[in-house]
Symmetry: C2
Subunit: 137 residues, 2 copies
Amino acid sequence: MSDLLERLRARGWRLTSQRRVVAEVLDGEHVHLTADEVHARAVAHLPEISRATVYNTLGELVALGEVLEVATDGRARRYDPNAHRAHQHLVCSGCGAIRDVHPHGDPLAALPPAERFGFTVSGADITYRGLCPDCRP
Amino acid sequence: MSDLLERLRARGWRLTSQRRVVAEVLDGEHVHLTADEVHARAVAHLPEISRATVYNTLGELVALGEVLEVATDGRARRYDPNAHRAHQHLVCSGCGAIRDVHPHGDPLAALPPAERFGFTVSGADITYRGLCPDCRP
DNA sequence: TCCTAACTTGGACTTTGTCCAAGTCAACAC
DNA sequence: GTGTTGACTTGGACAAAGTCCAAGTTAGGA
């Protein structure tokens, strides 16, 4: 993730300790954290970091395309640091666990022009749903 | 949508005026409303209906499979009355407009067993993203 | 070392959704 | 038709997630 810090610096970012810590948290565990979870982990390294800064920084990382926002459940947004390899998500309906998955083929190919209603379609987010081994009855 | 009221009655629902109004709102315009939008429209027909009842009723309709919950943006959940024909959604990144679309093929087929991590995968929600004709530059 | 625009802070505020005790009423039995 | 009762509704308090802002701090160039 030092790459990330490099890229951010190259884009004219001021590298504050707060931004560094947020980047480290996202890099550290490759999971899908909510903003509050990022904040809780960031506080462990930098106790005075504020919620507002975490929200700001996450928003900026998303705008730069360095982090993806995932909305799988209509509750808190989750942040996915794996922005540089195309992937989709598999979510357990029982416990909410999320895995990155890589379906084959191009999902856009399944949407015929007649079903595009004049939109310029640029991407597709797929959420596969099911039960993980631990939640299966 | 009188079918819907029939089905609900058959399931032992008490048909209150509040539930009737919520059902009518969902039936009336085939769009994807938030709970507050449903409430606003319901109030026009039944001024004293409460937010809590709208939330309760929407939740019940979802649990019964009569209405789908759509989470396209990590903000308010939207409610889709078109639950009886499988479909996906196309969302405008500019204005947030949502259309129902019908891609061909089975999205689950694109997810090989090796990418399922032991999950019992039961479905896939696809959100196609792009710009609608009005928002295209 | 200084300066300044960019960044951070904490707290107030908004939006979205949940919960609950008290009151109301649809549907059944008669 | 009337009475009864448990299911339903209400309003308001509460919680969770996110935004906004004025005031204070600081990274990095001059």
